[in-house]
């Protein structure tokens, strides 16, 4: 049983609740009043013997004064102090005990900071890496520049030739129409959050993933979205064909039996069913709640089945430390690691890369790497992030400064 600085608070609270004076309790427990005062104010720890006597006087089991739910406060304060080297973390228990209100203020602010960090990261991820958003913003700014320049010409007190005036008024009319249309589309796109925009401003891959996520990735017999772009519809159909082939090769009932026997081991399942390893990874991810990411030889993520707690960047490059990319460089070698995210969540990551030669000896080698993402409670051996831009870690693989540093 561990005692914490909050022990003093609890002793005091119990004494006051019983209407007992400090001196009386101290005398009955065989300690001085001044010593009990120091204990109650968390300036001195109480030994087990003294605590047992005080517990008896206060008619409570000793456990009532030991570590309880408030231990989580200590842990949270330690977590909030991460990255703040000046924080006196060795005295966190004393602080929490003496200033419980301030402790809650700090925790509340830490939670708010974490929420704002996540919101900034999400916005920045969009603003920096969303090619459609970037292109639309550029269009809007270009038109604004044209409007600004033209309006300044027309407003020139020196005046301009009537023909030029008419020409620039016409340009202004054109630009303002473009601006209105562009701004409206931009607002609609931003309002849609991660959802598909009717104007087809989302990348086809995003459309497909959103379509699949809405059906919990049970896409084998799913109707293709009527509002899908042509590219997305083609990609969705290809995914459907793959999933159907996977189901045919690894039928539901037998797969469930083998999954129970072998666990989430895609390579063992592939060997049992005589299926391609990538198919087994896909089958496993879609049959369970596991996350899945697939990349091509350039490292571009071509499929993202997300799992809570494991952030996969929407645009741009992912964390280079992911086993997915290690597998890319070591084809046909299974790679497995327990990794921890900046948020403290741990995941068992199983990655594998399979080369293929669709055009035979005369054609190029294609590589696809896949990584299964399974929540884990095992000790982590690898610290990872989502992408460098939003990762707070001091990391040798950092590609660019983080916006949060």
């Amino acid at each position: 049983m561990s005692l914490t600085a909050l022990t003093g608070n609890r002793l005091r609270a119990r004494r006051v609740a019983l209407g007992l004076k400090q001196g009386d309790v101290a005398a009955r427990a065989g300690v001085s009043a001044s010593y009990l005062n120091l204990i109650e104010h968390n300036r001195r720890p109480a030994s087990q013997v003294v605590l047992a006597r005080l517990a008896a006087v206060l008619d409570q089991p000793i456990q009532a004064f030991a570590e309880g739910p408030e231990g989580a406060v200590i842990d949270d304060l330690r977590a909030a102090a991460l990255g703040w080297p000046l924080a006196e973390t060795l005295r966190v228990e004393e602080f929490a005990g003496r200033f419980p209100g301030w402790a809650q203020v700090i925790l509340g602010m830490a939670q708010r900071i974490a929420a704002l960090d996540a919101a900034v990261a999400a916005v920045n991820d969009r603003m920096s890496h969303d090619p459609h958003l970037s292109a639309n913003l550029h269009e809007v700014l270009s038109v604004i520049a044209s409007v600004r320049a033209t309006a300044a010409i027309l407003a020139d007190p020196e005046g301009i030739d009537p023909d030029w005036q008419a020409r620039f008024l016409h340009n202004l009319d054109q630009d303002s129409a473009r601006l209105a249309k562009g701004a409206a589309a931009l607002v609609q796109y931003l309002d849609s959050g991660g959802q598909i925009a009717a104007q087809g401003m989302a990348a086809p891959q995003e459309e497909v993933e959103a379509w699949a996520e809405a059906a919990d990735w049970q896409v084998a017999d799913l109707h293709l979205g009527a509002a899908m772009s042509a590219s997305a519809a083609q990609m969705a159909a290809e995914l459907q064909a793959q999933v159907r082939a996977d189901l045919a090769a690894m039928p539901e009932a037998e797969f469930a039996v083998e999954l129970a026997r072998l666990g989430p081991d895609a390579l063992a399942l592939a060997a049992h069913f005589g299926a391609a390893p990538l198919a087994a990874f896909r089958r496993l991810a879609l049959a369970t709640g596991a996350g899945l990411v697939i990349c091509d030889a350039s490292g571009t993520l071509t499929l993202r089945k997300r799992v809570p707690g494991f952030s996969v960047p929407r645009f741009g490059a992912a964390c280079p430390l992911w086993p997915l990319f290690s597998a890319l460089g070591r084809p046909m070698v299974p790679i497995e690691q327990v990794a921890e995210t900046p948020g403290g969540d741990r995941f068992l990551l199983r990655a594998f890369c399979q080369p293929s030669y669709p055009r035979g000896f005369g054609g190029p080698e294609l590589r696809q790497a896949v990584m299964l993402i399974l929540p884990s409670t095992a000790p982590a051996t690898l610290a990872i992030g989502s992408s460098c831009r939003v990762c707070p870690r001091d990391c040798p693989a950092r590609r660019e400064p983080a916006i949060l540093m």
């Binding site: 970037s134 550029h138 700014l141 270009s142 520049a145 320049a149 300044a152 010409i153």
Partner: protein
């Protein structure tokens, strides 16, 4: 002799506004609307200054800038780059490639006039 400016800008209306503004200041402004023909035009025209947008069809402004700076004849040519993106990395890339000046859109007409005067010594 009147100095000549080559403006490489695909947005027709802003190109027209910039040409109008600079022409009133006495510069002769020639406009082309895509990056692919920029190199040939520069070689043919031998302008005293180039103004180019970052985002262009055919070839980007940064590619054109790099190409010009790699040629001895244009190593010191005054080049003003315009962009609606305005991100730090665009500016850094342009400065590394040897741009003379960098402006973000939208800009004040007086601003571009002053930059051109400064670069051409007018």
């Amino acid at each position: 002799m009147t100095k000549q400016i080559l403006l490489i800008e695909d947005e027709e209306n802003i190109a027209e506004a910039i040409r109008f503004i600079l022409s009133r200041d006495g510069w002769v402004v020639q406009v082309i609307r895509d990056g692919a023909g920029a190199w040939a035009m520069v070689q043919q025209m031998r302008p005293d200054m180039v103004i180019l947008d970052v985002m262009l069809p055919g070839k980007t402004g940064l590619e054109i800038l790099t190409e010009l700076r790699a040629h001895a004849d244009f190593a010191d040519l005054p080049i003003l780059m315009l962009t609606a993106k305005g991100q730090g990395r665009d500016r850094v890339a342009a400065e590394r490639a040897g741009v003379s000046a960098f402006m973000t859109k939208p800009f004040d007409n007086s601003e571009i006039r002053a930059v051109v005067r400064g670069l051409l010594g007018g």
